[in-house]
Symmetry: C5
Subunit: 95 residues, 5 copies
Amino acid sequence: MQFAKVIGQVVSTRKEGKLEGLRLLIVDQLDEKLKPTGKTITSTDTVNARLDDIVLVCSSSSARMTSKTKGTSTDNSIVGIVETVSGKKRDWFKR
Amino acid sequence: MQFAKVIGQVVSTRKEGKLEGLRLLIVDQLDEKLKPTGKTITSTDTVNARLDDIVLVCSSSSARMTSKTKGTSTDNSIVGIVETVSGKKRDWFKR
Amino acid sequence: MQFAKVIGQVVSTRKEGKLEGLRLLIVDQLDEKLKPTGKTITSTDTVNARLDDIVLVCSSSSARMTSKTKGTSTDNSIVGIVETVSGKKRDWFKR
Amino acid sequence: MQFAKVIGQVVSTRKEGKLEGLRLLIVDQLDEKLKPTGKTITSTDTVNARLDDIVLVCSSSSARMTSKTKGTSTDNSIVGIVETVSGKKRDWFKR
Amino acid sequence: MQFAKVIGQVVSTRKEGKLEGLRLLIVDQLDEKLKPTGKTITSTDTVNARLDDIVLVCSSSSARMTSKTKGTSTDNSIVGIVETVSGKKRDWFKR
């Protein structure tokens, strides 16, 4: 999974049937120190993430392995809200 | 998913059987501000997208998770027409 | 899918059982204007492509979604011969 | 698979249901000489890896092919602790 | 698939159960002229490849589509030994 920050939202009224009812969030991928990498993707949300939340994004077929996204045409899902990121000697991030 | 703009169409008369009847569109991938990234791909279409439409493209095995592309040899599908893209303070795109 | 040009062929006598009987072609990936990108891959062939043919290559698990490659250990398949590629105002390629 | 070194840990209290109980480790990908590549990812752990361990990380759908991660939304799993890495003439790494 | 050269071997005594008994080889990816690209990966072996062999490596879920790797957590498998690579006018490689 990759760290990412929620930075926006996408509205699509005409979309593939199984995506109906799923929130589509724009996330900015972060490195392990939680610095932006400048790479953004649109991700389905499975944990009610909000703007500015630091999240874990899962990609490829595993993005569908959640109760909300099963069988849908999503290739990226937010699967967790990050609480702490700890390195060897100290925390790199605390929510 | 990735934002993309429809810029062309591909005709292939001799193709793998299950692809018959599917439209093959060329899309230019866009960043979150909807600026072209210069990376283009050929994508199956599931929402009747037209030239210049801003769309959402889903890749890998998830591209097959639609009623139109199930079981076909496609690795990219257009799964939504983008209406609005909203950042923290304002809309980045409105159709 | 990606555009590609067939530039060579691979012979492998000792290979994984399910690959027996499949043609392995070397393709050079092309951009949407059909210019070489310099990235080459070895791809199974499902449409009897020939040297210099402009083809569509499908990757990842979708490469197995053809009658010829079902269940085989291929990660790229040629799934179509390109006839025309049309942009907004004109054809970029005609066979 | 890729070589990687365990450099940290992630805590996420609010996460997709099936990820409950799985350890999420941050790993730094290494080249074949075990030098850091600077690319980090968050990976589920299936072998009780510890900080500084040199491990093998498996990605994409194969990350779910373990008894611990089956059916979960993970796209990277630590699947082995590296003991030795041997080149043609000598060992590049010994634990 | 990608061309690669076998350059080493990995020993991992503590690994995910289903990987037991599989050989893990380090391969250096090659371009179509069989020149090293400098990108190395660890791959399961399904054809008894040896050091210096030029092989075909299959990635992602297709790496599991062999009798030896079915259901295992591998994301790259050696699926063939390369005998000849032929371009338009001549052979680029002969074993």
